[in-house]
């Protein structure tokens, strides 16, 4: 197990290095200039000389190899550079927002798991019944309805029935847990519904597949209690693909709530992504992509380790 874990951990570093190089190069071919956006997008009288001066000041006139070298030298020290828009360190920009995105992702995951596990299991166990059809309609609906649209409906619902929305601005869970929950429950519901539908569908398929395996039939033939057959022999094996889906969805939520965060005016990294793209803030954008990639890589690592824990065959493989 230790050898397996070490091998997986060592793979993380070349992956992240490749991502860093790729992101730097790809972003440099994207059209757009932050200085022009900063100084001329809202109009105003700005001479070319002023624009050049600003480019020089921000280091954008440096040769590409120098910019790349500076960027790569900074990475091991956690220095992601400075946002070209706010001129604050990228790590500070991301750091002040990632906690909120992380919290929202956790809350959405909890909601999704709480909804998906009973729905997925019941749907599989009562396959072909009315209950199964109802659950399938609910879950297909969850996959079909975009989260941000559901979010807009939830906002309209709150305005219509309560006459108000949660206060703007991030309230820390440690300072005021109730207000924090009041702020995040709506976006968590809008994201969690889709998330739970994906997980429930995956769990249903996995359980159905596992329940048709020979060893389940053998267990039943041996007279093992049905509940024990399902929980011990069925569910444990059905969890493997489900855990993968939960892990990938969780990692996706960390940087992927681009529209949902905008709809709910949440100051997370999804909204920061939008802002950095609109402004062509390359330093911030590459910092964000790298951060999200790191999250993906580590969540994948955790999923792999969980896999090994759930299925001994995996850890014994060379």
């Amino acid at each position: 197990m230790l050898q397996y874990a070490l091998r997986r951990i060592l793979l993380v570093f070349p992956t992240l290095f490749a991502v860093a190089v790729l992101v730097f190069l790809v972003l440099r071919v994207v059209p757009g200039d932050i200085v022009e956006i900063k100084m001329t997008a809202e109009g105003g009288i700005v001479s070319q000389e002023e624009i050049e001066r600003e480019r020089e000041r921000l280091g954008l006139n440096e040769p590409l190899y120098k910019q790349f070298f500076t960027y790569m030298i900074g990475l091991p020290r956690g220095d992601l550079g400075v946002s070209l828009w706010t001129e604050r360190p990228v790590s500070q920009e991301i750091g002040s927002r990632i906690a909120l995105s992380f919290e929202l992702a956790i809350l959405s995951t909890i909601l999704a798991v709480l909804i998906a596990f009973p729905l997925g299991t019941l749907s599989a166990l009562y396959r072909g019944t009315v209950l199964d059809y109802v659950i399938r309609i609910i879950t297909i609906g969850g996959i079909a309805v975009p989260s941000f649209w559901l979010g807009m409906l939830l906002i309209m619902f709150a305005i219509t029935f309560f006459g108000k929305l949660p206060p703007l601005g991030t309230v820390s869970i440690f300072d005021d847990p109730l207000t924090n929950l009041y702020q995040l429950i709506w976006p968590a519901l809008s994201v969690g519904y889709r998330y739970s539908s994906v997980v429930a569908r995956m769990l249903r398929s996995s359980i159905l597949e596992v329940l048709s395996e020979d060893y389940i039939r053998t267990a039943r033939a041996k007279g093992v209690f049905e509940r024990l057959v399902i929980v011990k022999h069925g569910m444990r094996n059905a969890l493997l693909p489900t855990v993968t889906v939960i892990g990938l969805e969780f990692a996706f939520l960390l940087g992927g709530l681009v529209v949902t965060e905008s709809v709910f005016n949440l100051n997370g990294i999804g909204k920061l992504f939008v802002d950095s793209v609109v402004r062509n803030d390359l330093n911030l954008l590459q910092g964000l992509v790298l951060t999200v990639a790191t999250c993906f890589v580590f969540v994948n690592l955790i999923v792999d380790l969980l896999y090994a824990a759930l299925d001994p065959r995996i850890r014994y493989q060379k």
């Binding site: 994207v30 059209p31 757009g32 200039d33 932050i34 022009e36 956006i37 900063k38 100084m39 001329t40 997008a41 809202e42 109009g43 105003g44 009288i45 700005v46 001479s47 070319q48 000389e49 002023e50 001066r53 600003e54 000041r57 828009w85 706010t86 001129e87 604050r88 920009e93 002040s96 927002r97 906002i155 709150a158 305005i159 006459g163 108000k164 929305l165 949660p166 206060p167 703007l168 601005g169 991030t170 905008s262 709809v263 005016n265 100051n267 909204k271 920061l272 802002d275 793209v277 609109v278 402004r279 062509n280």
Partner: protein, 530 residues
């Protein structure tokens, strides 16, 4: 000399000031009610806090409340001016010397006394920005040849040439007065820090989220009525207003938003406006495009836009004004009269007949069925709505425009690099003064923001002549001559000025809407009727 003096006085009277004599200090009444927190939304994020160094309205909405300027505007009688830091001021007969007497006892938020040295240091920073400091409007102060500070409370600006715009320039919301002490320590200090003499002090800034302020007790006027303000970064206006998350947004609402907000909140919200908004949207035709080298083709594009009928419909769906306009804000002192404008190419009343003439001109020029690309900024209001209207108008004239929409970053690059045949463009101003409103339309090598990229020395001469002309009537005549020439040449096709309508919580009192979203953002005089 008498004629010159008369001209100077008339010019200043038009601007609402009394030249060569003492003016008055801020004439706002004190607060009917004190207290409460004004919560507002801003749809953009400030790139920095330095008012000298950028054009962003977000900086104005968040930061302007922390600073003072030498002069400001009397918002109820705009564009009349009144003193802010200046208790009084005077202009010499030749228009070359401006003398300001500053309020005594004014202190920066950190307790440092404000003196004439701070004014000098601030204006010198704008004129000659040190390394690492941006100053996009320094050209507007190019005529200042020297700044003298005979004592702590007197500042004298010497000009190298008469400049009719200069007095209003001292009321520019961008020309904030910084502390010399801060600038001496670090010229870049205002980029990331705030220390002004304005009505509210910065309490906390949460990047991407909120800008929180508190009342400055030692403010040199008595109209900072609130306990503080909180500005939140928002994505849209309607939902935060309806959900009680914000009380105001200061840029402007689109018609659909207004309807939603009014229907949802009824008497709890006031729609303020429509008010002329000094941002002109226009189409720039690329002077390098072969077809557009022919004046008849450019004029045909101009004539096909039936502004008299089309703008009325456009104003119902986006925040454009329904009044046809040339290059200066309709109704402002230097604008052409509607009758005069109706004689200009593209503004004549019979739209159908103009279209027929335009088609004949295209045929004559050999460009029947003209194909060209139109570069659009992929933003719904007002860009998409205006584009759809113009596409339809040009198609009615048998042309084949192809609209290419891009997000801001790409759009700006295309516009700046000239990668278009026609592009949407805009000219925002903070004062209806020809030196500001017409600067964009002179030769490209003079302005830097003329995306048609033409060179026309006749326009440059007219511009410089109006700038140095202190007689109002003569200046207006020169300004109109320049405007008519630009419209007739038709490298520039004005579409519309904007119509500004704000949705404000009915508890907000004491606010007067200004003709630009970058004006009147210090929240002075605002009080809450709670």
């Amino acid at each position: 000399m008498r004629l010159f003096l008369k001209a100077a006085v008339l010019s200043a009277t038009i601007l609402g000031t009394v030249a060569a004599t003492n003016a008055y200090a801020g004439a706002h009444s004190s607060c009917p009610k004190q207290g409460g927190t004004l919560v507002y939304g801003v749809k953009a994020e400030p790139p920095m806090f330095d008012l000298h160094g950028n054009n962003s309205y977000a900086v104005q909405h968040y930061v302007a409340q922390h600073y003072s300027t030498l002069l400001t505007f009397d918002w109820e009688n705009f564009p009349n001016m009144e003193g802010d830091l200046a208790e009084s001021w005077s202009v010499s007969d030749d228009g070359l010397t401006f003398t300001f007497n500053l309020h005594k006892g004014v202190k920066f938020h950190d307790g440092t006394p404000m003196t004439s040295a701070d004014v000098k240091a601030s204006y010198e920073r704008i004129q000659n920005p040190p390394e690492g400091v941006a100053s996009p409007r320094k050209a507007l102060l190019a005529d200042i040849s020297g700044i003298e500070t005979p004592d702590d409370h007197t500042v004298i600006f010497k000009l190298s040439a008469p400049n009719a715009f200069m007095e209003a320039g001292f009321a520019s919301p961008f020309n904030a007065i910084y502390s010399k002490k801060d600038l001496d320590a670090d010229p870049k200090f205002p980029i990331k820090n705030v220390n002004g003499t304005g009505p509210y002090k910065l309490k906390e800034y949460k990047p991407g989220e909120a800008w929180i302020t508190e009342r400055y007790e030692d403010f040199h006027h008595d109209d900072n009525c609130l306990d503080g303000t909180i500005g939140y970064k928002i994505s849209g206006i309607a939902e935060p207003m309806l959900g009680g998350q914000i009380m105001a947004e200061w840029r402007g609402t689109a018609p659909a938003e207004r309807v939603t907000i009014k229907e949802g909140l009824g008497d709890k919200v006031n729609l303020v406006g429509p008010h002329g908004w000094m941002t002109l949207f226009l189409v720039s035709l690329n002077s390098e495009t072969e077809a557009f080298k022919d004046k008849r083709v450019r004029q045909a594009l101009q004539m096909c836009l039936d502004r008299n009928n089309g703008l009325k419909q456009l104003a119902k769906i986006t925040f454009t004004s329904e009044t046809p306009a040339g290059l200066t804000l309709p109704g402002s002192p230097y604008a052409m009269s509607p009758e005069d404008l109706a004689t200009v190419t593209g503004y004549r009343p019979d739209g159908d007949s103009e279209k027929k003439k335009a088609m004949a001109m295209l045929k004559e020029a050999g460009y029947e069925g003209l194909k060209f690309t139109y570069s659009n900024r992929a933003v719904a209001h007002p860009y998409d709505h205006m584009a759809i209207w113009m596409m339809s108008e040009w198609k009615k004239c048998g042309m084949n425009p192809e609209m290419i929409s891009n997000p801001t970053a790409t759009f700006v690059t295309i516009r700046n690099e000239g990668g278009f045949d026609a592009t949407i463009d805009w000219a925002p101003s903070f004062l209806p003064d020809p030196s500001l409103m017409l600067f964009k339309f002179i030769s490209d090598d003079q302005t830097g923001s003329n995306y048609s990229n033409y060179i026309d020395r006749e326009l440059d001469d007219l511009y410089n002549a109006q700038k140095g002309e202190l007689d109002f009537d003569k200046r207006k005549a020169l300004s109109i001559e320049l405007e008519k020439k630009v419209l007739n040449d038709s490298h520039i096709l004005p579409v519309a000025f904007l119509g500004r309508v704000l949705a404000l919580d009915s508890r907000i009192k004491g606010f007067t809407i200004a003709p630009s979203h970058i004006l009147n953002n210090t929240y002075r005089g605002i009080w809450l009727d709670e």
